[in-house]
């Protein structure tokens, strides 16, 4: 590596150009898949949202904005509002439940990987099965009600399933790992000396936690809340199975319009509205989509 000038400049240039051509080629299949199986379907949905419902459930002209107006109809507005509310409550519960757990994992020397994997393990098992596990416990003929009846503590089964509380429980159970992971990532980097310093200066351990650790883990909290709120807002399976058709969320509304109700323009408008909310929330929380990758 002696002599003037950048010694590897020629080789580097050669490498750079050669690999550049290859990369361009490598991009094309993924671009084709995204264009055909992501953007084309979205374009169709956009077009359908501006059409009129046909007599047999299809779509027909004239072009109209009517479907978007109906989304804000009080009947559907209530569903939209409920979705936002249930998703927000579930996210808040995940944050409250996840923070101490992430803190415990971040502070347990030597067993961090094991404890973190133990949180992530249910994520690898089927979401559907995890939802069913709660149905098995909470149903009228489920374990809890059967046990309480046998012990003669209740005469009629308690209405544990098929309500908004059950849906919230299902969402919290399903998405808690998504909250713990980013919280752990920030808390792990937090210098314990900062907490010690706060305690030396007279703060109780709880005050030190509240005034030092909580503010410093804000990036993790925002990431976690985003990772939980977005899937909760568009949830379909949990409200369907654990709400039993009583706690209808926007995901169920969309599914219903495309299947049973066969009002595709309205379902398409609701889909685009849901996507718009997701994008607005993502952007306003200060994380551009690109940072997620």
């Amino acid at each position: 590596m002696s002599g003037g000038g950048p010694p590897t400049s020629f080789a580097f240039q050669k490498t750079h150009n050669a690999m550049k051509r290859l990369r361009l080629l490598f991009l094309s299949p993924a671009t084709a898949v995204m264009a055909l199986l992501f953007f084309a379907p979205l374009a169709i949905v956009f077009a359908y949202s501006l059409l009129t419902r046909g007599p047999y459930g299809g779509v027909m002209r004239p072009w109209t904005m009517e479907s978007y107006g109906r989304v804000f109809d009080p009947l559907y507005g209530e569903i939209l509002w409920r979705s936002v509310w249930v998703a927000a409550v579930s996210t808040l519960l995940c944050l409250m439940l996840g923070f101490p757990l992430a803190l415990y994992i971040a502070r347990s020397a030597g067993r961090k990987t094991l404890l973190l994997n133990a949180v992530m393990l249910p994520f690898w098992t089927s979401f559907l099965i995890r939802t069913y596990a709660w149905m098995f416990l909470l149903r009228d003929t489920g374990l809890i009600n059967t046990a309480l009846e046998r012990l003669h503590l209740i005469r009629a089964p308690l209405p544990l399933l098929f309500n908004t509380g059950a849906v919230t429980l299902g969402l919290v159970y399903g998405y808690l790992p998504f909250m713990v992971l980013p919280l752990y990532a920030t808390l792990e980097k937090l210098d314990p000396a900062l907490l010690d310093a706060a305690e030396d200066l007279g703060a109780s351990p709880w005050i030190a936690l509240w005034r030092v650790a909580v503010p410093l883990s804000k990036p993790g909290m925002i990431a976690g809340c985003l990772l939980v709120f977005i899937p909760c807002l568009g949830a379909y399976l949990t409200p369907d199975l654990m709400g039993g058709g009583k706690t209808v969320m926007v995901g169920n509304l969309i599914q219903n319009q495309f299947t049973t109700a066969r009002d595709w323009p309205f379902g398409a408008a609701a889909s685009l509205l849901l996507m718009a909310i997701v994008l607005i929330v993502t952007r306003s929380l200060g994380r551009k989509g690109e940072e997620l990758i």
Partner: protein, 260 residues
Amino acid sequence: MKRFLPVYAAAAYLFLYLPLVVLGVFSFNSSKVAMWHGFSWQWYAGVFHNTGLLEAARNSLIVAVTATAVSTVIGTLAGYALWNKRAPVLTNSLCLSLLTPEIVTGVSLLAFFEWIFRFLHMQLGLHTVILAHISFCLAYVVIVILARLRTFDPSLEEAALDLGANEWQTFRRVTVPMLLPGILAAALLCFTVSFDDYVITSLVAGVNSETLPMVIYAMARKGVSPEVNALSVMVTVGLGVFILIAGRLEQAQAAREQRS
């Protein structure tokens, strides 16, 4: 607080695992009622005698294997290309596909397929399920591959090219072997996500293309049947063993790489 945290963590882990453990225990219950009566294998036997279930399991495997293979290859190529070449359109669309709620992905693919099939005289079936799964698995692969490439040293490629390899040989003989643990991790993620998907699958599946999650869903809605518990245990254990083996492979590959 030093006493509070361990107690709390124990309770949290109990919350995460107890429902699954209870579900598993009651798959061995000899009675249909949710009270313990005695040990029995009958529900497991029932699963194996249920031809509809076996058919669905076969469909799920076909879909997951095909979708994983295709999206892992395409996603690996794209992830490598995106590594230090900016392609904002593709990057943003992958991000957008990750943010899109499953139900929206599902209905838009349904609308798209139905529209296209008006011209092609085809019907929904296993092929539409596979296409849908490729579409939503792609972003996961790209993320995993890009994460893996963060620790990749480009001078290895330069060395190979200097020594006379052409671009394709360099990619094939240097880059891919180095990326193998990442590729395996991506494939593993794809397989589990695809095998588990209900929402998108149920929308784009045709009459004879029921997958396992669709059957579990239908059974779960109908009512308590310990057969669902048995099936759940088998799926969970099956996936668990698969993840364990794949994880070991990945570790072995990473270790081999460090040695050389």
